[in-house]
Each structure stands twice: as C-alpha cells, then as structure tokens.
Symmetry: C2
Subunit: 234 residues, 2 copies
C-alpha cells in the first residue's frame, strides 16, 4: 500500500481545534500503524479548485492513495480498517455490527450534535437560536441516554474489542465533552475517556493541533464577535 495523503486545515478557530474531522482519519491511521502525509489547506481554499475536485462539499478531510481519492471521514475510516484488516472483527456478524455503530454515530448521534453547534456558534447571533436550544439539547440527551443504555457496563460497544464503530462513536460523543452533556451518563463519560486515552488517539490529536500553523482568514474575528454579541442580546 502506498503512503496515503490526507487533507487538513492549517488554521481553525479555537473552538474547532481537536474537532476537525481529519482527526478521525488520523486516529484510524495511528491505530493501524500506517504512516501518512498531510496536505494543509489555508481557510477558504477548501471551497475552490483543486480541492473541490477531491471533495464535492468543499470540506476536509480527504484521503489519497495512488489513484484513489476518497472523502467522508466514515468511508475513509472504513476503507483503512478494511485495507489493514484491523479495527473490524473478522467474523461476519461482528464485523457488520461494528460498521452499524459507525453509521449510528454519524447518522443518528452526530446530527443533533451538529445542530447544537449551529445554535450556539454558527447561528448564535440569529434570533431563533436561543429559543430553540432546549429542543436541540433534549434531542442530544435522548440519543446520549440511548447509547448509554446500550453500552451498559461493557468496555466497548461490542464487548471487549475496540472497533471502528467505537472510534467513530467516541469521536462524535467527545464533540460535547466540554459542554456538560456527558455528566449525566457516567458510563458514556468513562467510555469517551477510555477512547481518548488510547495512544493512537493521543498521537492523532497532537498531530492535528501541531498542524495549525496558519492564519485566520480576513474578517473572521469580527464575524465571530458579531455572532456572540447578537447571541447575548437575543
């Protein structure tokens, strides 16, 4: 297998550091022991060519390996797991369940979390965000409670083996690690702590943070301040 190249940002605001989705791909690559290169994009370039040709939504990460160009962190993590025969159990039913948790993380748990980011960051200054926030929080708690219930006292979602499903679920749950949501679910909080304590995660996180050597795009600080002020006034 040729050494892959992923894309990442050379700068993001503080609130996004340690959360940009290339972290999920870096984590998977670290778990399987695959070295990789990083192509860093300045903010704004992700929406233009040549990056749009890699990623139709103008986002990071992408993954290039020889002629293959992939986007969507879920698809990339699954590809890495399959290529290396790691992060997925060999037995067919167990493998299907690990993949099931990847989809569950991305399609059932992450959407209300992304919604929270809209309500508290990207649309914090909009008049609808504050009144709507309790409904968004309730949907997050519903999902967190359900994952907590299913996890029970197991170490990982499918018993004692860490899979790509755990990698993705921990990645999604930890988005709200500093927002107090996990406190009601001690088993989930411990699960996230177990995931993020893994040496592979720690290396991936350190590498993402070390890559932020660029500068904010013009006007960013003003935009952020305006969102926050409008939010406080609302």
């Amino acid at each position: 297998m040729s050494k892959p190249t992923i894309t990442a940002f050379d700068w993001v605001p503080d609130f996004a550091r340690g959360q940009v989705r290339d972290l999920r791909v870096r984590w998977a690559l670290e778990e399987v022991g695959q070295p990789y290169d990083v192509l860093y994009l300045p903010q704004g370039c992700q929406k233009q060519e040549p990056h749009r040709a890699r990623q139709p939504f103008g986002q990071v990460p992408t993954y290039e390996e020889g002629d293959l160009i992939l986007f969507e962190s879920g698809a990339i993590v699954l590809h890495i797991a399959e290529q290396h025969g790691r992060l997925l159990p060999g037995e067919q039913a167990a493998r299907a369940r690990a993949i099931e948790w990847m989809f569950a993380a991305l399609n059932s748990v992450e959407p209300p979390i992304s919604d929270y980011a809209f309500a508290t960051l990207f649309e914090a200054g909009q008049p609808w965000s504050k009144p709507r926030l309790p409904a968004v929080e309730q949907r997050i708690h519903e999902r967190f409670g359900e994952v907590s219930q299913r996890l029970g006292d197991k170490e990982w979602l499918e018993d004692d083996r860490f899979t790509a499903g755990d990698l993705m679920m921990v990645s999604v749950l930890r988005i709200l690690e500093d927002d107090g949501f996990l406190e009601r679910y001690p088993n989930l909080a411990a699960y996230v702590a177990r995931g993020t304590a893994r040496p592979a995660f720690q290396r991936a996180l350190a590498d993402q943070l070390a890559g932020f050597t660029g500068n904010p795009p013009p006007g960013f600080e003003e935009w952020l301040k305006q969102q926050q002020q409008q939010g406080e006034a609302a």
Copy 2:
C-alpha cells in the same frame, strides 16, 4: 443465507408514507433478489421492549438474519450488498467510492433535509421554525448544488453502474421530491427519476405502502392539527 426479517410500521401519517427508512432496506433486498419477511410494529411499540433490544434508538428498520440483528439502514444496505456481492463494484477503489456515497448521502446530505422536516412538520408549531426556515433551505440548496455539480451528466454517481451509493443518495434526495427543491437541478431530478423508476424500487415502495394496515395512535390527529395551526399563526 437464511431468509431475513425486517421491521416496519403498520401505520404512519400520510406525509411519511413512502419515506420510512425500511424502504431503503426493501429496495436493496429487491435489487439483489432476496425474499424477506416483515414484522409490522404498531406505532409506539418501537420505543418499548422487545423492539428496543433490537434497535437502541427505538426506530425502524431492523434486520434479522439468524443470530445477527442489525439496525441503521446504511449498515443494513451495506451488509446486504456485501452478502450478495451486488450493488458494490468488485474493484477495490470503485467499491470504496460507492461506500463513500452512502456515507455522503447519510452524513452530508440527509441532515439538512431532516432539519427541514423539523421546521415544517415536527416543530412546525414552534415560534422559531418559520424564521429559521430560509437558513435551512439554503443549506439544502448548497448540498443539492454540490451533488448536482459532481453528478454532471453521468447516469449514476460513479459513471454507468448503479451502486448502493446511488440507492442511498436517491433515497435521501427524494425525501424532498414534492417540495420543489429538485427543480433547480434538472440533472438531479432526472437522477432521482431514474432511481425510482427501477423495478426493484417500485416493488419496494408498493410493499411498504401495502403494509400500512394499522391505525394511528390515540391523539395523533389532534397533535398534527395543533402543530399546523400554531405554524400558521406564527
């Protein structure tokens, strides 16, 4: 392979008929020619045992085949495709790209569409829904424009072969088929029409619709009317 059993609802309101996610699984099963049984759940039962043991979020569909119980329509469709060696190209890079489109449909395109359902149906009566709607619509158009751009004049997302990625993308795009969003993107509208014209889709749709033989839960009609009235007054 033993005959699988999926779960579906025996009743949903008109706006959800032809949209409940068991349709995606039925479609995949029809494409690969796999007969299946359906266990129909009355509304409300999905949130209780024994269904909660199958599906941690209390939703349909699930998929049972021998000892394997799967949830998440994305994971189920991928499992069916892998089991039958259909709906996914054999060549590794092409296979990875087909899976990438499954994740793209579910994680990048469907969330703003689900948000539209909140704004216009489930939270239509909330005071924040109407002011927020233009922002939601803009996010949908952004994604639709990006998928349209990438599709270009190809028949399917990866050239001339229908894959599980197309199955999922068509399933997601057609949620808004009657809401006027596709009109701006003639190639997307034609792509959705090609997908839904497939005999396997038509059989799956007819079977879902034929399964709605149950009754609404007590109080449903009143709840819906209330949402609509509040929405009109807002």
